[in-house]
Amino acid sequence: MKTDYEPVIGLEVHCQVRTRSKMFCGCRTGFGESPNALTCPVCLGHPGVLPVPNREAIVRTIQTGLLLGCQIDEYCKFDRKNYFYPDMPKNYQISQYDMPLCRGGGVTLDRFSFPKDAQDSPEASARKRVHLTRIHLEEDVAKSTHFDTTSGIDFNRAGTPLMEIVTEADIASPEEAFAFLTALRLILVQAGVSDADMEKGQLRCDCNVSVRPRGQKAFGTKCEIKNMNSISGVRRALAYEIARQIEVVSAGGRITQETRRWDDDIGQTSTMRSKEEAHDYRYFPDPDLMPIRTTDGLLEEARARLIELPGARADRYTRDLGVTEYDASVLASDPHLARFFEAAASGASNPKGIANFLLNDLLSALASSEKALSECPVQPADLRELVGLIDAGRINSKQAKEVFREMFETGAAPAAIVRAKGLEQVSDTGAIEALARQVIGAHPGPVQDVRDGKASALNFLTGQVMKLSKGKANPKLASEIIARMIKGDPLVR
């Protein structure tokens, strides 16, 4: 019998913390500047310099920890991680070893965080929580560029604050890894703690992966895939690596513990270095830095900045506002969109209708005019009013689209547009009755059909009334009146 194997995956996510200045000096953080423009004696590791921690980076890391349900200890400290590498100005990295800022916590995987092709799988609707081991704060290293016979080092990135978010070996598939990273990235961006732009290297990921026969408790030998910088790349790399490991162990072979790199172009992982070459980092507390006491205002500041997580927000939209699950997840995934929606839905009787109009008409209008939501000429309150007019039967949905076009072009309020264009639906029973009488008189055949119970005939007659009213008649009312007149008065011809 063929053994069934299951993968065990843990991730280490490196994420640049959004701050104006670097972790231990006053240099501006930035991307795309000319090499070494954003440097000073401190981040270049010149003789005699000392680090001064960036309070903002500490607060944002604690804030992240609180959002992810981590425990924040009273005392934390910075340690030195010693190893030689040209990217490291001091040949040690200031990091955190045994007293990190955050411990524990987790990220709940919602269905829409999974890749599109996996959203209908059972694991996508399991709402699994991936547990975190810790989050610590450290400084980023520089960037080497290799030429023919020399290398250049750009220290602009050196010293940028970096959060390392470490998961438990909790992840059971490449799709879950994808979902974890997607959900985590969303939280980081929404909380404003990181821009998490993977193209700029602001979010990077190391994957630890092993396989074991399903049901076995003990872990298999793991491999680490280093420095992944796209979420879909992580999924592909893990899928490849899991298949590779299963192939090796199924054939009776052994996995060698090693660090591997992923080549996205050829779609393969390959050996980078074996465990024997592993460093002894000689961690010790950085004597240049004092221990951090989180109760000295840091926790308080971080608490004041907490936001509602996207998952919780989507749940609230579905539960309290009746928005569809899909619409809720789209709205909650973008803080600007969510803010617009909440402003529009505030006090509205039909939030679901507002969500619908917002996600369809408003977003496509923005897209075709290449405008951002912040530049939207339609105010949330005006959108609420427009949907209110539809719901009250004062305009029909076709008219609503016309009104919206006008709102989007001029920024005018919907009621004013309706008045100015004379668009308001005719709901005056007398006026519709007069038109209905005219239509009934002109179409005896369909009238007989209505008497015989043919629904399509009633629609035809209603259409005729709409036509006579130049589209202004309330179609629902017109239909009711026609039906009543035909059925209630057999003498009508």
């Binding site: 004696p41 270049l44 590791g45 010149h46 003789p47 005699g48 310099v49 000392l50 680090p51 001064v52 921690p53 030195r80 010693n82 030689f84 040209p86 100005p89 001091k90 040949n91 040690y92 290398s151 080092i153 002894d280 000689r282 961690y283 010790f284 004597p287 240049d288 830095l289 004092m290």
Partner: protein, 482 residues
């Protein structure tokens, strides 16, 4: 014209009276240096034109206006070489000013000349220098002490008015004792370390070496204070040290620890220090016996903590960004290995190896962590002692200056010479060495130092005691034969 180079106050009086200009002081020092530095090797770099230009801009209304200060080659002065007495930093010039330099300039002083030292402040004889040993002005066949040997020799030899040194395990006080000048190690955190090339970050402090206690107080006052660039500097008010010198020793209680008078110490040292203690008693101080029982573990734990921190601090010297770089390296590892092999001296290599070893996986708890615990015990010794006395009196060093080469092949004996000073750094408190007598050695005379150890941030008290001792004894007026 002969200038009173041995007193900041006297120079300041002449400056303010308009009798001399700051550049005259620079010129007088230059004359002394040109005459005697070939014999002493105290200065390793001078730029007299730059010093004169700065002297001409000096505002003599400021507290140190127009006073040149010799700077140990481990403190960054923008545009000047900063080589830490090492081959690995040859060619390197600082691109910024240390905080103490900024403060000295703010007080009107002129950083003038860079003085010799043991490489990266590792040593007690100034023999571990890329530039060769500095020599003791009392006997040029002897060591000036270390690591701030250049600072002490320059001051004692009249080649500097005052100097900055750094003290990690006695590196200011021991050379002050050997050369017969005043040297003060401030409380850890009193003076910013920003711009001091780190040897052992948790122990290093910058401090003054001077001809007299008043000058040391003036310099200390100028360089002290909280620095936002150094989070280990302490945010507390800086007393006016120079103003609190008077007051004498009456009513002060001094503790004399029995552990600091050890078998094998030089009898002349014991005699001189006992004499100083008796003198202070006669001047009205109360003397009590105390115990600092963990002193005997100070050296052992120091030689774990200091090399551990040094092994990490010195990792940045790799030839990639500044200083020496090995020629035509095959690859980056070869570049690191040869740069460091060529650039560092043997004592520095020894300590990097020691430090790397004690921090290694599996050894950390047994060495580094345990040494930190011992350090806590040492600090508690001092806390307990200071509950019953205001200051502690000890010899600064167990012997007067030894001969150059005498201990070079015996690092342990060299390390043991710091037995009386190291515990002060381990406890993080302050200490001052003042001349308290002489030993007759082979026809010459060698200075002996009295160490006065104070409470954390108790510099005012030890300065006051040292000042009174100095005023009532003749030792500081003695001049070396050069």
């Amino acid at each position: 014209m002969s200038l009173p180079l041995e007193s900041v106050a006297a120079l300041r009086a002449q400056l303010r009276a308009g009798e001399i200009r700051p550049r005259d002081i620079v010129a007088a020092i230059r004359e002394r240096v040109e005459a005697h530095n070939p014999a002493l090797n105290a200065y390793v770099h001078t730029d007299w034109d730059a010093a004169c230009a700065e002297a001409d801009r000096a505002d003599i209304a400021l507290p140190l206006g127009g006073i040149p200060v010799a700077i140990k080659d481990v403190i960054a002065v923008r545009g000047q070489p900063c080589t830490c007495g090492s081959g690995i930093l040859q060619g390197h010039r600082s691109i910024y000013d240390a905080t103490v330099i900024r403060k000295l300039r703010g007080a009107g002083a002129i950083p003038a000349g860079r003085v010799n030292m043991d490489e990266f402040a590792m040593g007690s004889s100034n023999e571990n220098s890329y530039y060769g040993p500095c020599r003791n002005p009392w006997d040029t066949s002897r060591a000036p002490g270390g690591s701030s040997g250049g600072s002490a020799a320059a001051v004692a030899g009249g080649l500097a008015v005052v100097a900055l040194g750094s003290d990690t395990g006695g590196s200011i006080r021991q050379p002050a004792s050997f050369c017969g000048c005043v040297g003060l190690k401030p409380t850890y955190g009193r003076v910013s370390r920003f711009g001091l090339v780190a040897f052992a970050s948790s122990l290093d402090q910058i401090g003054p070496l001077a001809h007299n206690v008043e000058d040391a107080a003036l310099i200390l006052g100028a360089i002290s204070g909280h620095d936002p660039s150094d989070c280990t500097s302490v945010d507390r008010p800086v007393p006016d040290f120079a103003a609190s010198l008077e007051g004498g020793v009456k009513g002060l209680k001094f503790g004399v620890p029995k552990e600091y008078f050890i078998p094998g110490m030089d009898p002349a040292v014991e005699r001189a220090v006992r004499g100083a203690i008796d003198h202070l008693a006669r001047e009205g101080a109360e003397i009590i016996d105390i115990s600092l029982p963990h002193t005997e573990y100070a050296i052992a734990s120091y030689y774990i903590i200091a090399p551990a921190e040094a092994s990490s601090n010195l990792a940045r010297f790799d030839g990639v960004r500044y200083g020496h770089r090995a020629k035509d390296p095959a690859d980056v590892i070869d570049c690191y290995a040869r740069t460091r092999r060529e650039g560092f001296g043997s004592e520095v290599k020894r300590r990097i190896l020691l430090g790397t070893y004690v921090l290694s996986s599996g050894y950390y708890d047994a060495y580094y962590l345990r040494a930190q615990k011992v350090r806590t015990l040492i600090r508690r010794d001092f806390d307990r002692a200071f509950a019953s006395c205001d200051a502690i009196l000890t010899p600064t060093a167990p012997s007067p200056a030894f001969r150059l080469g005498e201990k070079l092949d015996d690092p342990i004996s060299m390390y043991l010479g710091d037995v009386f000073t190291i515990a002060v750094n381990m406890a993080g408190t302050c200490g001052i060495s003042v001349p308290c007598g002489f030993a007759d050695e082979g026809g010459g005379r060698l200075p002996i130092g009295l160490q006065i150890i104070g409470r954390p941030f108790g510099e005012s008290t030890i300065l006051r005691a040292a000042h009174h001792y100095e005023r009532t004894t003749p030792w500081h007026r003695e001049r070396p034969p050069i």
